[in-house]
């Protein structure tokens, strides 16, 4: 983004950089510094929230790749998270497998499931595809439930904190750094894919499949690739979830969770990685925000016993407001703000990707 005036690029390499200007570099360092000291400043509660956001962001980025870029709608995201979590849980319970076994195993299982459930995408489009991915969700939930029932883990599988290089991962701070690394790694990986051939092919498929194919894009392969990459990232997120929360159970992976992830992608802003991050933060933090608002706002006494239903209704309401008034999502707001500050006092600049 050529932001400051008088700055010109002289080499194509510069177009490929993430960080271009000195201001951007300073901002990045500032951000990194803040991220590094955050866990030492935040209360335990805030730290836990940060951890939840980081964890969700991995899944959100994965879904953004699939839905926001490759255009393949999926409602089976919770199923994939469950698959990752169950892989970890089962391997842990049955073989006492350590984390460096369960994590790659989850990724592999995710990739296989992604491949399988990507297959319908070769024939199906849009909402038909979305509903067919629901099947994935139900099947994983069914299998997980059967495992729990058969092995007698009726209230979920409890797993011990993972041990990394002889270091037990059980403090929130430690988790913060692990999850931060996971989130940053996923982000970098996704951004790299998007600025190269594969990412462009996905976006082309999103726009018009037949044309992409006539231009030399192997459409089936790229679709499946999108499913495989996204699913395997998601399953890894599921595995991390299992360790982070210390338990696995089917009920943790409801359809509502899938919907929350879709909400992250849309509320954040389709077709933008930043959007995935913002969306994840928004959807995770929102209920807490409502609760906080409820605590300080006067509410009818009739409802005070039903704070929770109010919370639920408010969530719906805010989501609707969002979709109505900011269809571009949180990135839309972000860009507008950016434009405003960059161009002030001039009018806004033509928006672009």
């Amino acid at each position: 983004m050529p932001s400051s005036s008088g700055y010109f690029r002289t080499h194509y390499d510069q177009d490929l950089r993430f960080i271009d200007t000195r201001t951007q570099r300073y901002c990045l360092w500032l951000l990194l510094a803040w991220l590094a000291i955050y866990p030492f400043l935040a209360t335990e509660m805030l730290l836990d929230l940060a951890n939840q956001v980081l964890l969700a962001s991995v899944g959100a980025i994965a879904l953004m790749l699939l839905t926001g870029f490759a255009g393949q709608v999926s409602l089976g995201h919770a199923g994939l998270l469950a698959a990752g979590a169950f892989t970890a849980g089962i391997l842990f319970k049955e073989f006492a497998a350590p984390v460096w076994v369960t994590l790659p195993a989850s990724a592999a299982i995710g990739a296989v499931l992604g491949l399988l459930f990507g297959l319908p995408s070769l024939r199906l489009r849009g909402l038909y595809l979305a509903v067919s991915t629901l099947a994935l969700h139900f099947i994983v939930a069914y299998l997980g439930g059967e495992y729990e029932a058969k092995r007698g883990f009726s209230s979920g599988i409890v797993i011990d904190p993972p041990v990394l290089f002889g270091w037990v991962l059980d403090s929130a701070q430690a988790w913060y750094f692990v999850l931060l690394a996971a989130s940053a790694g996923t982000l970098l990986l996704a951004a790299n894919l998007l600025r190269s051939k594969t990412g462009r092919a996905w976006r082309a498929i999103h726009d018009r499949e037949a044309v992409a194919e006539a231009l030399g894009v192997n459409v089936p392969a790229h679709k499946l690739l999108a499913f495989v990459i996204s699913s395997s990232l998601t399953a890894m997120a599921g595995c991390l979830f299992a360790y982070f929360r210390g338990f696995v159970s089917v009920e943790a992976f409801t359809l509502f969770l899938s919907i929350q992830y879709v909400a992250m992608v849309i509320v954040g802003g389709m077709g933008s990685l930043l959007g995935a991050l913002l969306g994840a933060a928004f959807v995770v933090l929102f209920p807490y925000g409502i609760e906080w608002a409820m605590a300080i706002l006067p509410i009818p006494t009739r409802w005070s016993g039903m704070v929770f239903a109010v919370d639920y209704a408010a969530f719906g309401l805010v989501m609707i407001a969002f979709l109505l008034f900011e269809p571009q999502g949180l990135v839309g707001i972000w860009r507008r703000m950016q434009n405003y500050f960059l161009l002030w006092p001039f009018k806004q600049q033509l928006m672009r990707k």
Partner: protein, 265 residues
């Protein structure tokens, strides 16, 4: 045109039939494209011109017949494979990727020429970066050629119809094709832009010698530029030959040109 006849054959369509559930679109169509030739494919609306191009690039699968290119049978191959062999095309309705910038559209057009693997891309290795820069340079040259450089970072949706058609032409060139299929590239362009287009086509022909099949309804352009005309009517061969002869053929006039208002050459 004698030297043309001697030129080697680039692409052959042999006894091609195309059907859609009982609806016969192409019947017994045979056509040869010679190296360096600019072949104009004309015919009334719904004659099957676009369908011929679709058959060549694998979007439609002919029910019978063969299409041979560089000693390979194209019938039965997947479109992306055919594109990789070096057959590029433009589309009648533009069909640009509206959500991407002009530059990205061209880079997608170049997809088949970029050799990078997913793992390298995920890490954006040195090799991937080098490839990206290399191909970016090529694409910029093409953008320059069609005089669209100023639009490189504009989202495709913000270009007017004619600008998009030109970008589509550039996107086809980005593949560095061995055969170029043009589907009504001039539709929606005004006289000025058509002259530019004519200039581009001629330069490509002279500088690189890529053979082209060119579907067109502008008879002036066809008459001025093409080496040979091939006329389709109702999915069947009507006639072919030098522009002058074909355009004064009564059969063609009756089926396609109508009246005598056109001024050939």
């Amino acid at each position: 045109m004698a030297e043309q006849d001697l030129a080697p054959i680039a692409l052959t369509l042999d006894h091609l039939f195309l059907e859609f559930g009982g609806l016969s679109v192409l019947q017994n169509l045979s056509l040869t494209l010679r190296a360096g030739e600019l072949l104009a494919l004309i015919g009334p609306n719904g004659a099957g011109k676009t369908s011929v191009l679709n058959c060549i690039c694998g979007i439609y699968r002919p029910s019978r017949g063969s299409i041979r290119f560089a000693e390979q049978q194209l019938v039965g191959r997947l479109p992306h494979h055919i594109a990789q062999l070096g057959i590029a095309r433009t589309f009648q309705h533009g069909e640009m990727f509206q959500g991407m910038t002009v530059l990205e559209n061209l880079l997608v057009g170049r997809h088949a020429r970029i050799r990078t693997g997913v793992f390298g891309e995920a890490l954006f290795s040195r090799a991937v970066r080098a490839q990206e820069i290399l191909h970016r340079r090529r694409v910029e040259e093409i953008l320059d050629f069609v005089e669209l450089s100023a639009f490189r970072h504009r989202p495709m949706a913000s270009l007017s119809f004619a600008q998009q058609k030109l970008a589509g032409f550039a996107r086809a060139l980005a593949l560095e094709p061995k055969v170029l299929l043009l589907d009504e590239p001039s539709a929606g362009l005004n006289r000025d832009a058509r002259e530019d287009l004519a200039r581009f086509i001629l330069r490509i022909k002279h500088e690189t010698g890529i053979p082209m099949i060119w579907v067109e309804h502008d008879m002036q352009m066809v008459a001025d530029l093409s080496d040979r005309l091939y006329v389709l009517n109702h999915g069947e061969y009507l006639t072919d030959g030098a522009p002058k002869e074909v355009l004064s053929d009564p059969k063609v006039i009756a089926a396609y040109l109508g009246g005598a208002k056109h001024e050939a050459a």
